[in-house]
Symmetry: C2
Subunit: 490 residues, 2 copies
Amino acid sequence: MSQKLTSRAADYSKWYNELVYRADLAEHSDVRGCMIIKPYGYAIWEKMREVLDAKFKETGHSNAYFPLLIPKSYLSKEASHVEGFAKECAVVTHYRLKNAEDGSGVIVDPTAKLEEELIIRPTSETIIWNSYKNWIQSYRDLPLLINQWANVVRWEMRTRLFLRTAEFLWQEGHTAHATKKEAIEEAEQMLHVYADFAENYMAMPVLLGRKSESERFAGAEDTLCIEALMQDGKALQAGTSHFLGQNFAKAFDVKFADKEGKLDYVWATSWGVSTRLMGALIMTHSDDEGLVLPPALAPIHVVGIPIYRNDEELALISEKFTELGKILKAKGISFKYDNDDNRRPGWKFAEYESKGVPIRLAMGPRDLENGQVELARRDLKTKEIVNWEGIENNIELLLEAIQTNLFQKAKDFRTANMKKVDTYEEFKAQIDAGGFFLAHWDGTIETEEKIKQETQATIRCLLLDAEEEVGKCMVTGAPSQQRAVFAKAY
Amino acid sequence: MSQKLTSRAADYSKWYNELVYRADLAEHSDVRGCMIIKPYGYAIWEKMREVLDAKFKETGHSNAYFPLLIPKSYLSKEASHVEGFAKECAVVTHYRLKNAEDGSGVIVDPTAKLEEELIIRPTSETIIWNSYKNWIQSYRDLPLLINQWANVVRWEMRTRLFLRTAEFLWQEGHTAHATKKEAIEEAEQMLHVYADFAENYMAMPVLLGRKSESERFAGAEDTLCIEALMQDGKALQAGTSHFLGQNFAKAFDVKFADKEGKLDYVWATSWGVSTRLMGALIMTHSDDEGLVLPPALAPIHVVGIPIYRNDEELALISEKFTELGKILKAKGISFKYDNDDNRRPGWKFAEYESKGVPIRLAMGPRDLENGQVELARRDLKTKEIVNWEGIENNIELLLEAIQTNLFQKAKDFRTANMKKVDTYEEFKAQIDAGGFFLAHWDGTIETEEKIKQETQATIRCLLLDAEEEVGKCMVTGAPSQQRAVFAKAY
């Protein structure tokens, strides 16, 4: 807790990396591109997982588990899927090591070569649809609503903690339906589950939209997404939900008999969010002092720190805090009492500030005498002296207020950084400053690519609730029916 | 739900395999040795995970996540560890596929070869201790109490669903301590956590013991274990807790400064249970009709089945069951109302019997009239007509009684199948019939190996609470201080 973090203004990217280490969330491992999620970071991920898992179950989904390893040939079965994923696979070719004859350690045993190489799953459509083939015969077997919590590996060349790592943790839903309509509704439903989670738990406002063709998931007919705006003005795709049409059903020959006995391919969706959400959470709320967490996902809601000169004072303060801890626990509020004698109060203040604990209470002998306590609020960095009597109710209301405030602040920021532009000149002049830009686009891949080449901005999405608005493409002048959302993105 | 299961008496192994499929718990995937855990099986594993996770947290542990992939050289750092695990590793050698030039699909891109091969973790001691090196400097950093829920891969040649699979799910605790005493106490504490879970949730009695030297974990100084007895008389190791001494601290150079500033290597433990527990659960309680589940781990506690001739009757019965469902939910009892019109009651009875749902309620028009319901108990296969009024209290008590009964039945079975033998002739004559055998052993690896060669029985453990008893080794006649527990094992 020695040095201050690099400020966001000075170097946003450096600030992010330092913060992840300072808040003890994660670190790089010696294995290229793979991260270690440390206990405090993992505790936040566990909270995310718990909330999402309950939402998946409420909407009728069950969890299951499919193999980590996928035969190489499966990837090839869906043509566009293999194009999207073959380039970044970890490939298992052997199944045994042996001692080197020169005693230098272990080497791969050349006699233990696999007949067909196995891929560590980059996503599980292929292995899951290979199973669904046997699980689905009739309309009675539908809908099939399954989710999996798993690790996946994509051999990314440029990695950043949480945002882009070779191995990451995620959930992937894979559903099968009797009708196209039902599958589309499922994809939309899950997008709304993600949006609800992002806004009401992460306190992160999101745009709900549809990807342009070139940004679609490899193998999907339609990719829906939620897009958030980070404090540096860059967009971050926080979750996707795909309508897969009958592509995987055809690739893996999954047909069902309807009530009349007629055979047809089933309709599919898949949808996922990952540990990338941790990066989104950090970059939405945190400040130059460190992490800022919405109470709904904070592992510790309140920390209590004693300030004392002798054991007698410590004993009296400890009694108060211990009692409060019990009361808060009964309210579902997690309280940590830090009476570690090896650290000074100032060190602890900085520590919990950097870890984003929403409320800090500090009590000294004078507070004890006056029936008061110092209460510091992480989001606003305000401090006040409040009455000890009834503090639990004060805390409860304050946590709600912090949650609301963080969302509102992020939403105000997005509102201030989302604008309509009508000419390409305007667009080019402003895009580097960051933000979402609503601009008319002629709908062609060529124009999209030109914009990307010239500005590095991509189409983040076509808003689901966009107003229809006839206009002209800012680049080509060709007619357009709707504005697309452009931004530079993570 | 057509055919009956093969009976346990006819072919225990076949019965097990059929049951896993019939109860919809898991299935083989096309990937050699890897299983698919189906939603119903995964729901039981989730319950196990939830209970264990809470116990780990109560005892002060935090979850974290370490990389799936381990550099090959790490394995070699602890001498006996590499001997134990190098032989069964999945090895990643490349990181990209490309299209075959002849258009036949994708092939491994030879230019994308890793400089150092990566191993899919068979267990994570090496990668975790490589991190602990940076996390531990002083006594203030100790104890370090971390657990990980993860998938691991061991390239087993003969696999069986849940019992032995190439990929399996597990938790692995890895702790670091300042003193030997504290590390030993931690290993013992976690063994007791496992035993408590096995007995009070799985309703599976276990022996608590210590492994003989030859059965120890590769890299451990002492391996503690819980051992259960399956219905076919074979033993199953259900969990292990290792005192690792300073072996990994030395291999990865992890030292800490004590209060006086003196440097020493830290002391370590590791401990784990896996999806193997699913196999143990199945084989402890199930019968020729299918799965039998202890209520503490059953995803569905009670199923309600309507018997009706017309919509009007169905509506009246549905009303009753729906109301009951709400009352049970409030009590934390999970209730499934199966009003699927596509299946007949007889089919449903067999279905829930094979899935081990502890209590089945069936209500027809006559029951409705009389204010009664038919209640069937899965463990005893008894049926009775009971009053509808107050059924929720009846169910609550019954679930407790079923839990107790299953444990007692399993314990009685073990008592009946655990005997002292004093001569090798006696031992050889009885070992094939199954059970635990308490016999004197001279403590040498040679004798242990001879017994294994001649009878296929192994030393399961040396009981922690064994009475000291001077005797003579049943094989060599050499003096012995304690009886060892022998059995044939999974």
